[in-house]
Amino acid sequence: MSFTGHLFLGLLEGGVSGLVIALTAMGLSLVFGVMRIVNVAHGEFFMLGAVFAWYFSSLTGSFYPALVAAPISVALVALLADRFILRPIRYAPEPTIVATIGLLYILQQLVLTFYGPYARPVAAPIYFRVDFPWFGYSGYKLVVAALAALLLAALWLVVTRTRLGLYMRATQQDREIAQAFGVPTERVYAAAFALGAVLAAIAGVLIVPVQQAHYLMGLDALLLSFMAVIIGGVGSLTGTLVAALFIGLIDGVMSVFFTPTLAKIVASLLVAFVLVLKPMGLFGEDRL
């Protein structure tokens, strides 16, 4: 295969994974922005999405019910975590980190106990092949990319055009003033946390036919979304989107030309240096 072919493959793979990362990272960014907390268990919502997808699709024999049922189940888990862990500690930054590390352990171990240490595949709901001049490519991956893009657009509509979005933006700007104007901030927090978890879960569901469900798959998702959120600038959803695509493309292109480990080393260092040069991220607000 020619250099152009390799480069195109790298860009394509990177673009697809970039959009999936964007979905997960958007969830983290939303929680980060609105609630000002670091949710270390965010990757576990991604993992739960994938595992529930396996469960529901093997229960019903079809992928489509899982696409709806898995994110809803994860939303319930998130709501419970918000109500019984995060709200009692009043979303204080450092206790939240410890508490969500605890939540991470609990969720991982529950999945290990009831689902087992296996990596299980789920059959893709659609098979077709797209032929490029250099290689054929899985059509399902392109559908995943398209769906992710669609969901991101829907999220943008929710944030900019709905009452919930308005409430969330108001709470993000100033929680107390928002409350004084009658915004039910506690419910906004719960909604933001659940919505963030749902986004991660959907990404998990979509990726299962490509990647298999495994109880440790959350950590990579967490690291990548962390990178996207910080590079994009905390509180900026646009920034997160751009950064996620940037990370996906770098990783994709590097993986085609170098060994995966070397590619990850270079990508990590690149991310670190971007942040050193622009500590507030590419699209960050001045305050943090």
Partner: protein
């Protein structure tokens, strides 16, 4: 997460000073005596805990006294570990020169990483340190022909006995292990205590409380933070180096993100900004893991639940809660 500055004049201050040093030395003396009464199993556990607590003390120097939260300390711990382990494995170094190379390796890494990362603060600092540590971890995997990668290297049988004057110490012996761990731990406690109570330590507290003002008064805040990060990295590296010598093993897992999270966890559980907090946190967490894994394979659920409950009941950590209730000279 405030450090209580001892107030009072003259005699009262001297008295408080003596009390603080006394309490810390009493903890060390208690650990010294414990080895004669503990059954062998707990004896070994405590040796390991003291090394891990030294690591957490190193971590806490940065977090507690500058307010910078790092998620990359595993790279300093691992630098000490590889600096020591690789020289023993390939060059046949003895324990003392190997500790020195481990220390030098971690100081070198901390100097470079600090110079780069201290341009950022807050969450950015957290992520930048995490990314550098991730690159370091992946590098230990990438060069697996030298480092042994995931499998790691076993030092058993390669480490010559340590000659200290008339003494010949075999680091594989439990009694020697315990006391070496105790010496390292005590050294780290005293270093931490001295640093915090030195004039430089006061400047650090000032920087943590209000960096702008400290700079306005004329302190070069970057240099102070750089110094603290280097000392913090060196103490973490010393812990890594000791761990390798005492437990004869080095591997990539010690450079992974989990080992960056651990000291943060121990520190938060024990109490930020206290010197003894990390020991309490490390002891608690190690024992909780050990006891629960005896009853169930799903012990991580218990660990997770313990963390959640602990942080809901004592958001300031255990020592923070103790200090709020009892006199402020509690370490």
């Amino acid at each position: 997460m405030t450090v209580r500055v001892q107030s009072g004049e003259g005699a009262a201050l001297a008295h408080a000073n003596r009390l603080v040093w006394g309490v810390h030395l009493a903890v060390a003396a208690l650990l010294l005596l414990l080895q004669f009464v503990l059954p062998p199993f707990h004896h070994g556990m405590l040796a390991r805990i003291m090394v891990l607590a030294s690591y957490a003390i190193g971590y806490n120097l940065l977090l507690g006294y500058t307010g910078l939260m790092s998620l990359g300390h595993a790279m300093f711990f691992a630098a000490g570990m590889y600096g020591t382990g690789l020289t023993v494995y390939y060059l046949g170094f003895g324990a003392l020169p190997a500790i020195v190379t481990g220390l030098l390796a971690s100081i070198a890494v901390a100097l470079v990483i600090g110079w780069i990362t201290l341009r950022t603060t807050g969450v950015s600092f957290l992520i930048v340190t995490m990314m550098f540590a991730q690159a370091f971890f992946l590098a230990t995997l990438y060069f697996n022909r030298i480092t042994g990668g995931d499998q790691g290297l076993v030092l058993a049988g390669r480490l010559p006995p340590l000659h200290l004057g008339p003494l010949t110490l075999n680091l594989a012996q439990p009694g020697v292990k315990y006391n070496v761990a105790l010496v390292v731990f005590t050294a780290c406690v005293l270093l931490g205590l001295w640093l915090v109570r030195s004039p430089a330590g006061r400047v650090l507290v000032a920087i943590r409380e209000n960096e702008e003002r400290a700079r306005l008064i004329g302190y070069n805040t970057f240099h102070y933070k750089w110094l603290t990060l280097t000392i913090s990295g060196a103490v973490s590296g010393l812990a890594g180096s000791t761990y390798t010598l005492l437990f004869s093993y080095l591997g990539s897992s010690f450079a992974s993100i989990l080992y960056s999270i651990y000291p943060l966890l121990w520190t938060l559980v024990g109490g930020v900004g206290t010197i003894i907090g990390p020991l309490v946190g490390a002891t608690m967490m190690t024992y909780v893991v050990d006891i629960t894994s005896g009853y169930t394979t799903a012990y991580l659920i218990v660990v997770g639940a313990a963390l959640v409950i602990l942080i809901m009941r004592f958001p300031q950590g255990i020592m923070g809660a103790v200090r709020a209730r009892w006199p402020q000279w509690v370490p």
